[in-house]
């Protein structure tokens, strides 16, 4: 089967800075992959290009064999590190909105998760805390039956209990044909759920390996390895 996503020579220049520098990457199906790197290493830039929110300076991105566009957007579930929900809406309105636009959206699943996290359906979004809004967004994203989930810092802002629930949701919700690419700098919390990690520094890929490979070869957790590699 073809790779889920493939990046070739991907480069993005902002003014004088090289944010992403000639990245080549293959994302297989059925994996949970961590995109790890210090702040400013190009993780978010890479993710935005994969979602068509930024245009690459050079190189190509193929998702299911297609460049980012209508067809890939229907198959990629993206959680940005921003809150994009409009304050005027209610929780159930935004569920309807997603249901209307994404064919792969599972409404039942969304409402189950909302009630498990005790988020009231009819609450206007402006009455919710920042953390709760982030949970709502994550629920919306994880309620799709997408091919590729791209989660930018999905656990940064939520409390530990919700974090556990979210991780369990991620584990149980994806199927063998879909993959999850998640960027984070909080490695310890999630390293057990990852298949592979991609280490990024200064816009380049330093390493792309399996978690257990790192543990076997270096006798270290990914977290410890990460700290060693990126030691200042």
């Amino acid at each position: 089967m073809e790779a889920l996503a493939e990046l070739r020579g991907l480069t993005k220049v902002f003014g004088n800075t090289l944010a992403v520098n000639n990245m080549n990457l293959i994302i297989p199906r059925g994996k949970i992959i961590g995109l790890l790197g210090p702040n400013g290493s190009g993780k978010t830039t890479l993710i935005k290009m994969m979602n068509g929110l930024l245009m690459p300076t050079a190189g190509t991105i193929l998702i299911n064999g297609q460049t980012p566009g209508v067809a890939t957007k229907a198959k990629v579930a993206y959680l940005p590190e921003r809150t994009y929900l409009q304050n005027g809406m209610k929780v159930c309105d935004i569920v309807d909105f997603f249901c209307d636009f994404y064919e792969d959206f599972d409404r039942e699943r969304a409402f189950t998760m909302l009630s498990n996290l005790a988020i009231p359906f009819t609450a206007p979004l402006k009455t919710l805390s920042k953390g709760t809004k982030e949970k709502v967004q994550l629920i919306l994203v994880m309620s799709r039956r997408a091919d590729l989930y791209i989660l930018d810092e999905p656990i940064a802002g939520v409390d530990p209990a919700a974090r556990d629930y979210i991780l369990r949701t991620i584990i149980t919700n994806y199927n063998e044909n879909s993959s999850i690419l998640l960027s984070t700098h909080l490695i310890t919390d999630i390293e057990n759920i990852l298949d592979e990690v991609i280490l990024v520094r200064s816009g380049q890929i330093l390493a792309h390996m399996e978690v257990d490979q790192i543990r076997t070869e270096y006798g270290q957790s990914v977290d410890a390895y990460f700290r060693r590699v990126f030691a200042c």
């Binding site: 929110l53 245009m55 209508v70 929900l85």
Partner: protein, 273 residues
């Protein structure tokens, strides 16, 4: 998808312009009450001042109302396409064309509604004034002279309904033009990594100047041309039709250019940060 986008755009959009139009309606109602009030019976100098200030106030509020709707159209476009909300807008499985058109139609519809409300408001006030002060038989007479007016137009070579139709076309293309000028300025302004709004304003001013300059040149050329070839036209009506029709085609061409700029920017130069 265009339908769905339109539906949600309408849902997000309607409250603000509806409130503005409601306010205009209330102001009109106040004006009507003012005109038919017995205040006029008083013979005082104050009435004159009151009259002119309220006229001024009315004029300003209509002006502010239509500006507010226009500004809101621009803000709404900027926010949903080029701020955090853009992260959702541009990851929906839709094309930039569908995004722009859905917003454009909603914007144009509200421009029409606001235009109609203002036209009706002015008409209501004028008729109330006529009713209250001049002659109750006015409307009868209007009915009687209507045919004569049409006849007079015809003699001048005006095709009344054609002129109205052409004027309407010109007005519609103009409404699209105004909104597309805002959209293209916002889309060009987002290229700036900081101060996107300032960038949009600068682009808007630049576009405005180009349009003013271009249209005044075209105007003078057209007037000169007409002046020199007056004999070629058999009536003032034909000249008007030609001006309206030609104007419409020009504005339509401008619409297309501005639309293409907007779509190109959104498709190829999207720069969300």
């Amino acid at each position: 998808m265009l339908k769905k986008l339109f539906k949600y755009e309408w849902k997000f959009f309607w409250k603000v312009p509806a409130t503005i139009n409601l306010a205009l309606a209330i102001i009109t109602l106040l004006g009507v009450m003012f005109i038919i009030s017995p205040l006029w019976e008083l013979e005082s100098e104050l009435i004159g001042i009151l009259m002119s200030t309220s006229l001024m106030f009315y004029y300003l509020s209509i002006f502010a109302g239509s500006i507010a709707v226009t500004v809101y159209i621009a803000i709404r476009f900027y926010r949903s396409a080029y701020t955090d909300e853009g992260y959702l807008t541009h990851t929906l499985p839709v094309t930039p064309r569908q995004i722009i058109l859905s917003k454009l139609f909603v914007g144009v519809i509200w421009t029409f509604i606001t235009g109609c409300v203002i036209a009706i408001s002015v008409a209501v006030l004028i008729f109330t004034f006529i009713f209250a002060s001049i002659d109750f038989n006015f409307f009868y007479e209007i009915g009687e002279v209507w045919e004569e007016i049409l006849e007079a137009f015809k003699e001048l070579g005006f095709h009344f309904y054609l002129s109205v139709f052409l004027f309407f076309l010109l007005y519609a293309a103009g409404a699209f033009f105004n909104i597309l000028m805002l959209y293209s300025a916002v889309s060009l302004g987002q290229l700036f990594s900081r101060h996107k709004i300032a960038g949009a304003v600068i682009w808007y001013i630049a576009e405005y100047m180009i349009v003013q300059f271009g249209s005044s040149i075209l105007m003078s050329v057209a007037i000169l041309g007409l002046f020199n070839s007056m004999d070629a036209f058999d009536s003032p009506g034909a000249v008007t039709s030609l001006l309206f029709g030609g104007g419409f085609l020009l504005v339509l061409a401008g619409d297309i250019v501005l639309y293409c700029i907007t779509e190109y920017m959104m498709k190829k130069k999207l720069n969300l940060d």
